[in-house]
């Protein structure tokens, strides 16, 4: 029963745990939480401003310079609004749901490495303790992120159900089907990363990506090592998991009023809004960690006035990469129209999951070939041929299934109901 003491690979927690360790851990958690809250505030402003720019309008301009305090004003307004709980709602679950979507968003952020000099292992030394610049480095590592994203479904689902009204219920049924479907693709993309890293720890993933790259300039980021496909799958599945446009069927305004949070008002609505943006930031941070080397990057100035600041460059690189990804998320939102429900399910089950699984097997074949010392070119060609053959079979199977369905629909006397057809 000594297990409780090895909760993390963090060297600080390996030995005796005294006051300094507890204070440092608490400080890390508080700093990360504060960062997330501030980042959400800025992100909402950034998204509105950027969307405005892409739509050729101004976006928020009034509150503060460039409208940067708009979120603060909106939050204050929401705070003072009347807090309604519908009469036909399940009161306890109705009040619980916002927290169920907020807490997983924050917990998943705990495993993201935020800084450190990864040319030297990524450890920092504060008050004589060697530690990592991340809230926690649990043995299950990236699985914690998957676990939290599967728990996050509860918030949306229960919010819709407990409202005791039709549109929210429809929104939450859509949400649960969508999130459960895309979790599989998300997990398979993560499996590729785990395969090339050889471990689950996010810290080890960044250390592996900080190693010597190709031709001296191309970094050894997983987006290159795993051959781009897992990244594309993860990006699409991640957007669907976040319920962001073009996958925002959960709250499709034209069909469902406001979706699962139609009945929410005041601070409870603000909590959902907060959770949504917190999830976006956490997802971007996870993508940076998995595919773009996290805080790994060159150290330009290693000390200022005798104080070592090599770790701070990690923070700088991390934020730059995070910023680029957040920009991409907003860009996708401004560009792509919303999917239809059957298109969403087709994309998830018939495209993303098979591609992610096939690519994972391809990477596994390469890994096994390298381990056994087989001819690398031959292994690559044979595996790609098998991959292409399987893809062909799958496309044929999907086609013949669709043909059979069309025949069936044509045979039926009365025209079949398209909604029933897709379900």
């Amino acid at each position: 029963m000594s297990g409780i003491l090895v909760l993390a690979a963090d060297p600080m927690l390996a030995g005796d745990i005294g006051l300094v360790e507890v204070v440092l851990t608490l400080a890390k958690a508080v700093v990360a939480f504060a960062f997330l809250l501030v980042a959400v505030m800025l992100m909402i402003w950034f998204e509105r401003k950027l969307l405005g720019g892409m739509h050729q309008r101004f976006g928020p301009t009034i509150a503060g310079p460039f409208g940067i305090l708009q979120t603060l004003a909106d939050g204050t307004k929401l705070f003072f609004k009347e807090d309604l709980v519908p009469d036909r709602s399940d009161r306890f679950v109705f009040k619980l749901a916002p927290y169920l979507s907020l807490i997983p968003a924050f917990l998943a952020f705990a495993i993201v490495p935020l800084g450190g000099d990864f040319n030297n292992g990524g450890e920092v030394e504060w008050w004589g303790r060697t530690t990592y610049l991340q809230v926690a480095d649990p043995p299950i590592g990236i699985l914690l992120f998957l676990a939290m994203s599967s728990v996050a479904v509860y918030g949306v689902m229960l919010a819709g159900w407990s409202s005791g009204s039709k549109y929210p219920l429809l929104g939450s049924v859509r949400a649960s089907a969508q999130m459960v479907s895309y979790e599989a693709a998300l997990g398979l993309a993560v499996a590729s990363i785990v395969l090339v890293t050889g471990g689950l720890s996010t810290h080890d993933m960044v250390v592996a990506q900080a190693a010597e790259g190709y031709f001296g300039i191309v970094p050894r980021w997983n987006v290159i090592v795993t051959g781009l496909v897992p990244f594309i799958v993860f990006m699409i599945a991640g957007t669907a998991e976040l319920n962001r446009p073009p996958f925002d069927l959960v709250e499709a305004e034209q069909e469902l009023v406001g979706g699962f949070h139609t009945e929410y008002s005041s601070i409870r609505f603000a909590l959902f809004f907060l959770a949504e943006f917190m999830n976006t930031i956490t997802m971007s941070a996870i993508i940076v960690t998995l595919f773009f080397g996290g805080p790994a990057g060159p150290v330009l100035v290693s000390e200022v006035g005798g104080v070592g600041i090599a770790w701070a460059w990690g923070v700088v690189w991390f934020f730059l990469k995070l910023f680029v990804l957040l920009f991409c998320f907003v860009w996708m939102r401004a560009t792509l129209p919303r999917f239809r429900y059957d298109q969403l399910m087709d994309l998830g089950w018939k495209a993303l999951i098979p591609v992610a699984l096939g690519w994972f097997l391809f990477l596994t074949a390469l890994e096994v070939g390298r381990e056994r010392g087989w001819n690398e070119a031959a292994v690559t060609v044979v595996s790609l041929l098998v991959f292409a053959g399987a893809a062909l079979l799958l496309v044929r199977a999907v086609r013949s299934g669709r043909r059979a369905r069309d025949r069936e629909a044509a045979r039926a006397d009365e025209p079949s109901d398209p909604v029933e057809e897709r379900a």
């Binding site: 029963m1 297990g3 409780i4 090895v6 299950i140 699985l143 676990a147 509860y154 049924v173």
Partner: protein, 189 residues
């Protein structure tokens, strides 16, 4: 410390389990089930089975109970059920007998020690390949080494079950449209 964690999670697990049985609303029962499952995950972590804990949350809390809730919401049985009607005759006395038997078996296991059923005192105790390996490594070696055949058979079984379910539902929808034409081409679905 470990004992404190055990006591707290045991209380959470038991409260959840009682809640599953006692709550009249099926959605509340499912939520209590989640509480129990998460409590068990904490016990797994306490015993160094980190991977099992993660799988417990991802698969049971994240997928299975979600499916329960999904079905409850789709069928709209989220009101308190009428409890006086007995759908199957003699169901209640039978449930009492089976429940008592199960409780007796569990009690016997707890009293005589864990080794009556599996012969193992603790998970991985006798089978452990090397002391340093994490639980995920050990589990991977056992599942895809020693029991690889069983794993493959299970996977095939699940696939067959899914395909069978799809075929059955498609045949049913066909028969209520046009019964004679449907039977001839039922095989190619």
């Amino acid at each position: 410390m470990a004992e404190a964690v055990f006591v707290v999670s045991a209380v959470i697990i038991l409260a959840g389990a009682i809640g599953v049985v006692a709550s009249r609303n099926p959605v509340h029962a499912a939520l209590f089930l989640v509480q129990t499952l998460v409590g068990v995950a904490v016990l797994f972590v306490l015993n160094d089975a980190h991977f099992l804990a993660a799988v417990q949350v991802v698969v049971y809390a994240g997928a299975i109970v979600i499916l329960f809730l999904f079905v409850i919401m789709l069928l709209g049985v989220d009101k308190a059920e009428e409890l006086r009607i007995e759908p199957i005759f003699g169901q209640r006395p039978l449930a009492a007998v089976v429940g008592a038997a199960l409780a007796a078996v569990l009690g016997a296991v707890v009293i005589t020690g864990a080794d009556v059923l599996t012969g193992l005192r603790r998970a991985g105790g006798e089978r452990s390949l090397d002391g340093d390996a994490t639980d995920i490594e050990r589990m991977g070696r056992v599942l895809f080494g020693e029991f690889a055949f069983a794993v493959e058979i299970t996977a095939a079984l699940l696939t067959v079950a899914v395909v069978g379910a799809v075929v059955l539902t498609r045949r049913a929808s066909r028969s209520d449209g046009s019964e004679t034409a449907g039977a001839a081409t039922a095989g190619d679905a």
